[in-house]
């Protein structure tokens, strides 16, 4: 019974933290790195083993526990590669625009939704995300406050979420 309960918990942990670990590893190593998925699997296995070995004693949150294991493995990987390559592997630019190529339909949907936004939202998205300007630079260009820039970005995101869901 206790074993079954623990297995369910591990499934929950896997479902909840799997995407977070994947995101963190991909961000650090780059999606074009062929090893990133193996590293993710190693981390998940390691987390499950440690929990099974009762190494997680609840001194920190489970999130922090998994974060620590993930960070250590990433650092180990980079060190290991640095020794072989004599320098650290270059992570791909993140967010990698080609990462979502497999989800072209969704990208088309989002792109179509952006086109329907009001110009004041589009221009913020254009300057902030496409041109890569800082919040302050965008604010100066549009003669608004940086806070207003954040508001417009957040509101655009909200609108897009609704439009894409429709």
């Amino acid at each position: 019974m206790s074993k079954k309960k623990q297995a369910i918990n591990l499934d929950e942990i896997y479902a909840k933290y799997g995407p977070v670990i994947r995101f963190r590893v991909r961000k650090s190593l780059g999606a074009s790195n062929p090893d990133w998925e193996d590293i993710v699997n190693e981390i998940i296995t390691n987390v499950i083993e440690k929990i099974n070995r009762k190494e997680f004693r609840g001194e920190s949150s489970i999130g922090t526990f998994i974060y620590t294991i993930t960070s250590r493995r990433i650092i180990d990987y980079i060190r290991q590669k640095s020794k072989i390559l004599k320098h650290a592997p270059e992570p791909a630019p993140f967010p990698d625009p080609h990462e979502h190529v497999e989800n072209k339909e969704r990208a088309e949907l989002i792109a179509g939704a952006i086109k329907t936004l009001k110009p004041k939202y589009r221009e913020v998205l254009y300057l902030y995300y496409y041109k890569g300007l800082s919040r302050e630079e965008v604010a100066e260009k549009l003669s608004i406050t940086p806070h207003r820039v954040s508001e417009r970005v957040n509101y655009s995101q909200k609108l897009l979420k609704k439009l894409v869901k429709k």
């Binding site: 909840k16 933290y17 995407p19 977070v20 995101f23 963190r24 949150s61 999130g63 922090t64 998994i66 974060y67 993930t70 960070s71 993140f94 967010p95 990698d96 625009p97 080609h98 990462e99 979502h100 190529v101 969704r106 990208a107 088309e108 989002i110 792109a111 952006i114 086109k115 110009p119 589009r122 221009e123 998205l125 254009y126 902030y128 995300y129 496409y130 041109k131 890569g132 800082s134 919040r135 954040s150 970005v153 995101q157 897009l160 979420k161």
Partner: protein, 217 residues
């Protein structure tokens, strides 16, 4: 609506604008905060789409931005994209063809005449006779017809001085006896014909042809 005090770090994290300490804190945070993680995934998807398709999504903004910030040279250079060059070439070819067609259709009639002492340009009248040396004083002068309703003026010169002139609507004229008498054997004469429209406009002219009345040996 639920907000998180770390939410404002999402963009800076995705664009690697956080220092190491903040970055570590935020990473630890999103391992514990499902709200921030969800937001970050959504934001990452949006940024990826914009980076991938921004050129088509923001065509208007891009053009407006170029207009605002670019120098004249950059504006001109950006205007003449390969597509536009191709379009301009096609337009130029069409304009050229149309111009050629119009020119050939509405080609103005050749300049009527520019006459100097010895030069005649434009329509000309062909003189038939006399055009070579002859043995007797000619009685009839003949030239090619230049059309209907044309009035001809014939001029006969004796060594360059006008001997006689007359007007006719035929393409020939008989020399009056009194003029024939003034022409002598061995003399060198020349003649020319001018054609006029009913309105009196000069429309054709012959070249001046010389003839000699040979002496009978």
């Amino acid at each position: 609506m639920k907000m998180c005090k770390y939410e404002h770090l999402i963009d800076d994290y995705l664009f690697d604008r956080l220092d190491d300490e903040k970055k570590k804190k935020f990473e630890e945070h999103y391992f514990n905060c499902h709200y921030c993680f969800e937001k970050m995934v959504e934001r990452e998807e949006l940024i990826s789409t914009i980076k991938l398709k921004g050129e088509t999504i923001f065509q208007d903004e891009y053009v407006a931005d170029m207009r605002k910030g670019a120098t004249w040279f950059e504006k001109i250079a950006s205007f003449f994209t390969p597509k536009r060059w191709a379009l301009i070439s096609v337009y130029a070819a069409v304009v050229l063809v149309v111009t050629c067609v119009l020119i050939s259709r509405f080609k103005p009639s050749p300049p009527q005449f520019f006459i100097s002492e010895d030069t005649v340009r434009g329509e000309s009248i062909t003189l038939i006779s006399p055009v070579i040396d002859i043995k007797t004083v000619p009685a009839k002068f003949e030239w090619k017809d230049s059309g209907k309703n044309v009035e001809y003026k014939i001029y006969i010169y004796d060594n360059g001085n006008k001997l006689w002139n007359a007007t006719t609507k035929d393409n020939f004229i008989f020399l009056p006896e009194r003029v024939r008498k003034r022409m002598t054997l061995g003399g060198k004469y020349s003649w020319e014909v001018k054609a006029f429209s009913p309105e009196g406009t000069l429309i054709a002219i012959s070249s001046k042809v010389q003839f000699k009345i040979a002496k009978i040996e």
